[in-house]
Structures are given as structure tokens and as C-alpha cells.
């Protein structure tokens, strides 16, 4: 029987064919560390390093430092990168960004390779045909020191995209549709492909790959196509071999997604598994804060959508709209495109690149009883601050429209004139 993409990548990295149920012990091509690794509560002093060329360090969760403990972590990271001669270091400053976003911006995640990072949203690297996976703090130190890691090989669900999204509908809605109708994918891999893939921008694929983490899937990997390969080659000169599924690849199930049938959706507070409703079901719910950002929705496409909705309009009185780019590179692109000026004029607070409000760390923490609508990665109870806050998850368009209304609102009117 043939193999799907995850099985082929893991087999190559393990040096032996693997099948569902196996434990694949693999060579890791890239290991990313973040500021979370270097916190005093978690850091363990590394004595050996397999290969500094395979290591990326990105300070992202708490940047610039929000308290002395994170400042200590950043200092430790600086010392570490210098000691081991790690060149790909994304410190606070020009190259700053959320680890998954700098990995995407610079195509560190190469097609057909294996990448690990402590952070759960590492699945995001799958948009570049990379077997990328969050593995936690101890495992990344193991990978840095030995160059190896292991994976349980799961069965695979293949999503076949067909058609094209309607105006005002985004990859976030595709995710909310999958999570809302298919539930969790524990111990399973997810593969994305099909003729409709060509109609999803690379930024849309980033969003979907990152959000696949929330399906509890192991890997979420996109089939390569020409735009993906061009994107990688324009950013990373290293050789790579893209991996396609075999014609007779084995899947637990193939599911068809007709993109043109997807509607804007919202996940109700506390979970995104089997928890999506149409925007209409919650329209009118009063909000205190709106957030667009994170590794899922801090792309230039997300800025463009927010600017389109907010141009010439104002954020409702009493509502905070916080917009956080995924990287400083995206911030500069959004500046050049005029989006930052539009958003700022509308009353949004545009922050530096960081995980920030998404992880409830700083720059937009919620208070007791507050209601937030967010285009980020998670709406868990207490995620963005006080446990008594309520967090609705939606697309950047829906969040921007809600910020103007001061209540959860449909963005449909802002896209009514657009061609499908």
C-alpha cells in the first residue's frame, strides 16, 4: 500500500518505512526554541549541541519583556545563542516575531523535512509541506542535544478542498467548520489538498495549518503546489525534496470540503471542538475587547481584511481593538501598505509582534466578566486573562466588524460588492 505525506516524511527521517501504530525515531531537521524554554522555572543548562545550524531561537511569548522573569529568560537566550554560535536568532528588534511566523516568513520549515518547537502551534509549519510538531520544553532540549526525536505514527484524515471561498469568508471559517463538524482528531494526522487548494493563499494556509493544532491532530501537512514551492525558493536557498502522497496512499478517511459552501462562523466561549455556530446566532452580544493577532491571524492578509472593514470607520466607544502582527516583518509590510495608518485612525491599538493577548501574557489581558471576540488561536476559559471573561473565536473580518458595532456583528456588508 502507498503512503500519505506524513508517513513518507517520517519514513525518510527515520531511515526506515513506518506505518500507523509505529514509533518513528527520527532525525530532526530544524529545532526551534522560544523564550518559554529559557524561563528560570524551565531552563536546563545545555552541555552539548548536535548542530547549531539546525537550531532557531525566537523570543515571542513575552516580548518586549513584561516582567523580570521574562527579561531573565531573554538574557539567557542571548547568552545561549552566543555560546553555541546560533545564527538564526530572532531577538527583540527588527527580526522579532512569533516563532511559527518567523519560521513561515523565512521558510525555515522546508518541504519534506521534520521540524520541532516546544510550542503547540508548530503544526503551522505544515503549510510548507513540513512535518512540524510542538513537542514541549524537555523534548526540544533532547532534540537540540541529540538531533533526534520520536513520533507515534497516527492514521491520517485527508481533507480535499474544492471550489473557492466566498468574499468575506476566510481560512479561519474553514477551520471553525472542520472543528465544529468533525471534532477532535486525537492521535491522527491531517492532510490538506485537492483542487481547491489553489484558491487558498499561502497566508490562508498558514492560518489553517496553525489552527489544526486545535483539532488535537499530530501533524497537519499541505500537499505541495507551485505557489508553495516558489514561496520557499524565494526565501531559503537550501535544497529540499517536496513530498506528495502516493496515488494509492492509505487514509482513515477522505473528507471533501466545498469551500464555496462555508459561511462565517463563531466558536462559543471555552472550546473550539464541536462548538461553532453561524455568526447570526450570536449577533448582538456586547463586547469589551476585540483582538486580531497570533500565529494564526497576524498575517498581512489579516491586516488587509481588518483595514478594508475599518477604513473610514471608528471602533465603538468602550471597545478596545488590539491588532498584533505575527512578526515585525509583517508589521513593516502592513505599514508600507497603509494598513497600520487605517487601523490606528479607526481607533485600533496596533502592537509590536508577540503572542501577547492570545496567550493572556500582556498587551490586552481581559478582566472579570469581560467579553472578547478574537481572531487568534484559542478561546479556552481564562486563556486571555480572568477565568470569568468570555471569549468568542472568529475570523478577522467578523472581529473587525464587531469592533465597529461594539457587539458581535456580521462582516457581510463590507464584502457585498466583492466578486467571488
Amino acid at each position: 500500500m502507498g503512503m500519505n505525506i506524513a508517513e513518507k516524511i517520517l519514513s525518510r527521517a527515520a531511515g526506515t518505512p513506518v506505518k500507523p501504530g509505529d514509533i518513528a525515531v527520527v532525525e530532526v531537521d530544524v529545532c526551534v526554541l522560544t523564550d518559554m524554554n529559557f524561563l528560570p522555572a524551565s531552563w536546563r543548562e545545555v552541555l552539548k549541541m548536535r548542530d547549531p545550524e539546525r537550531v532557531v531561537v525566537a523570543l515571542d511569548h513575552l516580548v518586549p519583556a513584561n516582567e523580570p522573569l521574562s527579561a531573565q529568560a531573554h538574557a539567557k537566550a542571548r547568552e545561549f545563542t552566543q555560546r553555541f554560535g546560533i545564527k538564526r536568532f530572532h531577538d527583540v528588534g527588527r527580526e522579532q516575531g512569533i516563532s511559527h511566523v518567523v519560521v513561515a516568513d523565512n521558510a525555515y520549515a522546508l518541504p519534506g523535512t521534520v521540524m520541532v518547537n516546544p510550542d503547540s502551534h508548530t503544526c503551522g509549519g505544515g503549510f510548507l509541506n513540513c512535518a512540524a510538531r510542538g513537542v514541549g520544553l524537555p523534548e526540544t532540549l533532547f532534540a537540540v542535544t541529540t538531533g533526534k526525536s520520536w513520533f507515534r505514527v497516527g492514521e491520517c484524515i485527508r481533507y480535499e478542498f474544492e471550489g473557492k471561498l466566498r468574499p468575506g469568508v476566510s481560512a479561519k471559517d474553514v477551520f471553525l467548520h472542520i472543528a465544529g463538524t468533525q471534532g477532535a482528531h486525537v492521535n491522527q494526522n491531517v492532510e490538506y489538498g485537492g483542487p481547491g487548494l489553489a484558491n487558498l493563499s499561502l497566508n490562508a494556509r498558514r492560518t489553517l495549518a496553525v489552527m489544526s493544532t486545535e483539532l488535537s491532530s499530530e501533524f497537519a501537512i499541505f500537499e505541495p503546489d507551485q505557489p508553495m514551492l516558489d514561496y520557499v525558493r524565494a526565501r531559503n536557498k537550501a535544497d529540499f525534496t517536496p513530498v506528495y502522497p502516493d496515488a494509492d496512499a492509505t487514509y482513515k478517511e477522505k473528507r471533501r470540503i466545498a469551500l464555496d459552501t462555508i459561511e462565517p462562523l463563531v466558536a462559543l466561549p471555552d472550546s473550539m471542538v464541536n462548538n461553532s455556530v453561524k455568526v447570526g446566532a450570536v449577533v448582538g452580544e456586547k463586547i469589551n475587547q476585540a483582538f486580531i493577532g497570533s500565529c494564526a491571524n497576524g498575517t498581512l492578509d489579516d491586516f488587509a481584511v481588518a483595514a478594508k472593514v475599518l477604513a473610514g470607520r471608528r471602533v465603538a466607544p468602550g471597545v478596545r481593538l488590539i491588532v498584533t502582527p505575527g512578526s515585525q516583518a509583517i508589521y513593516r509590510d502592513a505599514l508600507a501598505a497603509g494598513y497600520v495608518a487605517i487601523l490606528s485612525e479607526a481607533g485600533a491599538v496596533v502592537t509590536n509582534a508577540t503572542c501577547g493577548a492570545c496567550v493572556g501574557g500582556h498587551m490586552g489581558v481581559l478582566g472579570p466578566g469581560e467579553v472578547c471576540i478574537t481572531a487568534s488561536t484559542r478561546n479556552f476559559k481564562g486563556r486571555m486573562g480572568d477565568p470569568a471573561a468570555r471569549i468568542y473565536m472568529a475570523s478577522p473580518a467578523t472581529v473587525a466588524a464587531s469592533a465597529i458595532a461594539g457587539r458581535i456583528a456580521s462582516a457581510a456588508e463590507f464584502f457585498a460588492g466583492d466578486l467571488a
Binding site: I23, M36, L39, P40, A41, S42, R44, E45, V46, L47, K48, H61, L62, E67, L69, S70, A73, P118, D119, S120, R133, G134, V135, G136, L137, P138, E139, L141, F142, T145, T146, R152, G154, A184, V186, N187, E214, S216, E218, S271, V273, V359, G360, G361, R378, F380, K381, G382, R383, M384, G385, P387
Partner: protein, 189 residues
């Protein structure tokens, strides 16, 4: 030695990492993180539970983040965790932090809160002492079990000279884990 038993606390489906380790204490010392376990969904639980107690979860246990939630459950003294299914990243962290967490289909129905769950690692069975129901956890490769029951990956990495040993800890966590200090004492510190 291979049979462990503890009083059952039940949690439902899709229990996420943020409930076990809230973002507000993510950068804080371990002792502070321990105090925050399930603070949002079950306030006061860390004071009610006792060392050696057991968690029975539903499907998709530990969904979410890589934050070391397994370490917090280990630190507060949970003897083991059984769930219908476990998020892969939470499972890996459980292996690496030396916290015994096994997938055990049927466990959510087989146990009520307050039951005593008995895990026999030799026979590879989970038993409800009250009802006598016996379940089979899903298999875990031996080398992962060795890490999970042997203190996790850091001691192994120290032995191999990959990371530096930490100075022996005289802090509150070590005292709690060795029984020299009760958990409630932490409240006052």
C-alpha cells in the same frame, strides 16, 4: 510495586492545558503553578485533593498548549491519570516530566468520583475496586514507560551528559513530593 491505587477525581472531555496551568502563572515558579491547577473550573480543588489521588478524564484530555501541565499534576502528587484519549503533546510532556498518563477506553464510564482506581502495570489493567470492573489501557512502548515511571527525560539526559544536573532542591516542591511538607502549607507561603 507495580500496583498503584488512588481515589478518583473525574474530569470531562476536552480538558485543556490552560485549565491545569493558567497563562497568568506560566512564567512563575513551579510552586506557584501548582496552586493554580484547575483554579478556573474547579476552584479550591488543589486543597481538597490528596497526594496519590487519581484523575479520570474523558476524550481529548490535555488539548491545547505545550505548557508543562503534566509537571504541575506530578508536582501536586496525582498518582496517575487515565483518559478515554489523550492529546499527543500532553502525552509527550507526561512521558518527559515523569507523570503517568494512559489512554484507557471505557474509563470515563467505569469510574465514579470517589471510587478507588487501581492500576496494575505488570498485568496492564485498570480496576475499579468498588465495582470490580477491569479495563485494559492502550499499550505504551517500553522505553516511553521507562521514562514516564522513571522521573522523565531530564534525569536520563543528565546521566548522558547532555544537560547539567540541577542543584538538589530544598524548595517547597521537593519537600511536598517527599512528604516533608503538606500542600496546604504552600497556601501560607
Amino acid at each position: 510495586m507495580s500496583v498503584i491505587a488512588g481515589k478518583v477525581w473525574k474530569f470531562g472531555d476536552d480538558i485543556n492545558t490552560d485549565l491545569m496551568l493558567p497563562g497568568a502563572v506560566m512564567a512563575k515558579p513551579e510552586a506557584e503553578q501548582m496552586r493554580a491547577v484547575f483554579a478556573a473550573n474547579r476552584p479550591g480543588w488543589v486543597d481538597e485533593m490528596k497526594k496519590g489521588d487519581v484523575i479520570i478524564g474523558g476524550r481529548n484530555y490535555g488539548m491545547g498548549s505545550n505548557r508543562p501541565a503534566s509537571r504541575s499534576l506530578r508536582n501536586i502528587g496525582i498518582g496517575f491519570l487515565l483518559a478515554e484519549s489523550i492529546n499527543g503533546l500532553f502525552f509527550r510532556n507526561s512521558v518527559n516530566f515523569g507523570f503517568l498518563a494512559l489512554e484507557c477506553p471505557g474509563c470515563a464510564r467505569a469510574f465514579e468520583e470517589g471510587d478507588v482506581a487501581e492500576l496494575d502495570l505488570g498485568a496492564w489493567t485498570a480496576r475499579n475496586q468498588r465495582s470490580g470492573t477491569v479495563l485494559k489501557p492502550l499499550p505504551v512502548p517500553e522505553r516511553l514507560m521507562t521514562l514516564m515511571t522513571g522521573g522523565g527525560i531530564y534525569p536520563a539526559m543528565e546521566r548522558e551528559g547532555l544537560i547539567a544536573p540541577r542543584a538538589p532542591r530544598s524548595d517547597a516542591i521537593t519537600k511536598i513530593r517527599t512528604g516533608a511538607l503538606s500542600r496546604s502549607a504552600i497556601t501560607k507561603t
